[in-house]
Symmetry: D2
Subunit: 346 residues, 4 copies
């Protein structure tokens, strides 16, 4: 019998991406898609690409009505707005996969430093950080999964196994990330207008992006001690994709093939991580539309630096694809179901 | 049992797109992918997006060896080069779907006027023009299907039912098409270099594009008499997609909803044609990566002109997706199998 | 002595483009740039590209204060809003070049059909349509110049001389235009967000774009009798540029070189019109950032159709560059001053 | 009297950019543009944007014939090919500005490690590194100027004054650069085809790009001791622009405004360097088509890291604009002549 799913806040890009993926997922039925702004309107009015594929209307959010209609909910509303919704859905007996930042940070103080007040602190302990490649076992049993941020996904996957092995200095890590514009959401901000972004390239929120503590939390777990690092996001004139280049100091003499083997070993059971052969590096266009994270490895002998490069589709492995992967795991399905379409190149 | 497929000439974009689509097609096994230039090389070396998905090597073309290994072949080699290959494959007992122009024109003289000498004229009669929405029944029984060109697909689908009904003047039709750059293939021509194309827009091959006779052939069939028309292709700085805007003179007083109904009626059994509601018009991004053809209708009362606008993905409905649709029909499968992934928006 | 110029409504793209051009114009001093929204803010806060080049602040609009500070004003405010401003500036003794649509249409009824009420009808007679290649003499003496729309500029320049000579049928002209996104202005509409426009292509306002009557007015003048035509704009994923492809029926047997000669003859004294050699066609990237209009000519003998293709930069020849050209003429300067920078390719 | 200039190797993007800039330079006459491949062809056949602006033909390279026709030559041929040409031109009595890498590195051994054999080592001492903001005085007297690479220009300008003051650790500097595609030249390589690059993003030549020793040479000069650093270039789907983000460890407690003041002080006499106000960061679109280098400063107190971000147009300040700036200095002109057009935004 199909798993009944609800999408709370379905009018943005992550909502649309959930619809795109779930609409062909063989084990799922989408029973409810909410949008305060567009309630009553056909989904295909906002996503004409889904015409003939998803033929239901947006509706108002009502936790009561969801009780009978869904077993699991994806919450794709902004941080801060997600907290009470997640609480209500859990109380109504649904499992929840939250795509906001509200339950990603274990430490409420850290959350409040970067995001603002947290009104559901008691839920933080119940939340599992939804990076399946690292927390698969915990996710199986979770009722609330905090789906990781896009930048953190791209930064943590390559660095985690390396830091866990103590191969690099946990101090002084530099993470230089570049994201496509869809990461800003389906916004009406003129800053993301076509003519403003096209043929431009810039860094933004330099040293103050809110994904910083999330990356630090997970990499601290990897090396077993608190670390701080530098994270600089940049805006790329393309729609989808994140490429993350990280720099860390090697503590031992290790060559590229050994590092590739360590990564491959760590991700042996993780079908969505592709560790590239020596000399090959990822390109965002090779993961577009897919749930893959491609990783390339370079050792710079001249400066004793390890350079790890990863590419994901920010809307898939960086958001909605990872959410579906989490759902599969929570529901006891093969984690690749619904996520097997190859990347769209060119 | 899986249908065994060969792809002849698999290193270009249409070859890659066949691989993308067929690799997740549940009824198919890809047994052979040839490339003169890259024989022996892993396919994923040329298409890193397919790493872990298609794990075989390119091989040399050998019709003999294909006899035992494939029932059906997709030929994705340039026109003129396709002719002898198609002959050999047919002789070896395979069904063939030819993505070149070599078997699209029924009249060898027309072919020779636009393309050059035709060495396999006797095959022209056996070839079925592979536009399933019009020739589905013939395709079912075909051994050789001539897969339509990308521009013709986008031009014929909206106009065919209208011309068949005699609603517009068959003289003076203007077809103004705009194509993404992938239509030029995986070329090393500097004319299609990124910096040459980006932020540019131009018409090309004005009044002399080889898809003109193909469109004329099919629309002449629709209205039952020979017609000539104007076809102007343009190059759009985007990777995938064709938008075709056609202008024709209305012979009778008919309103938009009637025309929409005529089109919907004609394509009633054709799941890949989406005729949009009145007032809505297609956008290439709503069909990207999919086999859909979206059609919008406008009647200009001031000038008594019918404007039909259609959008397809040139690599899918304009090439490889349509080829797989043809294969499904030839093999007695549901024609949508393997082609159900929703468009990738944004 | 420098001509003192004011820009009314300087925060949009046409305002920014006026600043870019005028800041290096040797005969001009920019004395005032107004913006209701940004009054008091440095211009370079909104246009960081002009940092160190234009170092004044936006100010509030006050017609009184302009009397002493400017001889000529460019009004770059939306249509409808422009009317009263133009009146006040004229009353204050300034010459005005209006970049809105408010004074382009000679017939107030036509204006009111397409745009809404006109409150300054008595000014319509005083306004000169600011296409210098056609109305240069009138512009010399004008106090109010209505700067043409971007699409009309691209459509009128190639067709005017041809229609004036009666070479084509004035009925049934099809104008299929394609514009870059900056034509939508510096908008916060989510419809022009990067991820919405990028990798998309569509027609919009099919048969109902407000530039239609403007094109019809001028081409009717050319042929000496009222005409109606079809105008379809499309949105191209690029920032700058318009390419217009027009189709008209030849009334006589004329070849391409003759038509090229007719155009070259007509634009003999017009340095910004470049009529291309036979077989060459325009590309938007060859006029980017410049005031040029490139024109290519094709005769289709098969269908007896004349195809004219033109390219302009919508923000320069389609707006601010043409406005400066008009100013030069009104002030008795060489019309190319300040407009001599070559196009920026690539 | 006009300075007579020759461009050797004028068919690529840097050649075209020299033509664009020099064609409106009031003190210059272009007397000769060579191209082995296109000799005899009008320049505007290859650069239609220059139609009506540059109306001469490409010719064959002949050092003899240049003696009488030019005082100064720009050599825009590939590295290795430039060496003998530069020698011949100097012998013929011309001053030379070489846009290749052949004379940038003072140490022939370093050159040979990264590029291949050097056949004109004795010229290395006569060559001046053409970064006017640092070597203006030497350039005034130079006969041979080695025009800097695009990446080095963007990396050296922000870091030089900081390293000179000893504010950061000269070890462990990370330079993460992102370049538009025109940096690859007007190539026919399929790797730079539109569909390959568009909607992609990747790092390339990781730890092995040839601009590394050039950056190290100049930054070693700044701090007075040899340093090694990490340089990673990335390819951005845009035509023009380089953004460079560098990371270095602060040795002292210094705040952003102090660093801004140090940079502004150092570049006090350098009109093309714009050091942005605190909190502002560069965007490539704000320098497009101009000779500016914009610099932004961020201190990360959490990790004690200095982040410097710079933006240039790779074809202007990163190549041809800087070459013209050098020419102006060598010829005793104001260094901004011919380079005063504001950036083209949007």
């Amino acid at each position: 019998m199909a798993i009944q799913c609800a999408i709370i806040g379905g009018s943005g890009y992550t909502g649309g991406e959930l619809l795109r993926i779930l609409s062909t997922h063989p084990g799922v039925e989408i029973t409810c898609v909410t949008s305060r702004k567009y309630a009553g309107m056909p989904i295909s009015a906002l996503f004409p690409s889904l015409r003939g594929i998803v033929d239901i209307n947006f509706e108002d959010y009502s936790p009561e009505s969801l009780k009978e209609r869904a077993q699991i909910a994806f919450t794709a509303v902004p941080h801060q707005a997600a907290m009470p919704v997640v609480r209500e859905l859990l109380d109504a007996g649904l499992k929840v996969i939250d795509l906001s930042a509200d339950f990603r940070l274990h430490d409420a103080d850290v959350y409040e430093n970067w995001y603002g007040e947290h009104s559901q602190k008691e839920l933080l302990e119940r939340a599992v950080y939804g990076l399946p490649e690292i927390y698969r076992e915990k996710i199986k049993a979770a009722e609330l999964v905090a789906n990781p941020g896009c930048y953190p996904t791209s930064a943590i996957l390559p660095l985690y196994p390396i830091l866990k092995r103590g191969i690099v200095d946990s101090n002084g890590i530099i993470i230089d990330s570049k994201s496509g514009v869809s990461g800003a959401g389906r916004t009406s901000s003129s800053a993301f207008g076509y003519s403003e972004v096209n043929e431009g390239f810039k860094a933004y929120k330099v040293c103050e992006h809110r994904h910083t503590p999330e990356i630090e939390q997970e990499l601290s777990m990897a090396c077993g001690a608190p670390l701080t690092l530098n994270f600089t996001p940049h805006l790329v004139p393309m729609t989808r994709g994140i490429l993350t280049t990280s720099y860390s100091k090697l503590k031992e003499d290790v060559d590229e093939q050994e590092l590739i083997d360590i990564l491959r070993d760590f991700y042996n059971e993780s079908p969505f991580v592709r560790v590239l052969d020596q000399g090959l590096f990822p390109d965002c266009h090779n993961v577009r539309g897919s749930n893959f994270c491609d990783i390339g490895v370079r050792v710079c002998k001249r400066t004793n630096t390890l350079i790890l490069i990863s590419a994901i589709d920010n809307l898939v492995k960086g958001a909605s694809g990872q959410a579906v992967q989490n759902m599969n795991i929570m529901e006891g399905l093969d984690e690749t179901i619904g996520l097997q379409s190859p990347p769209l190149f060119p």
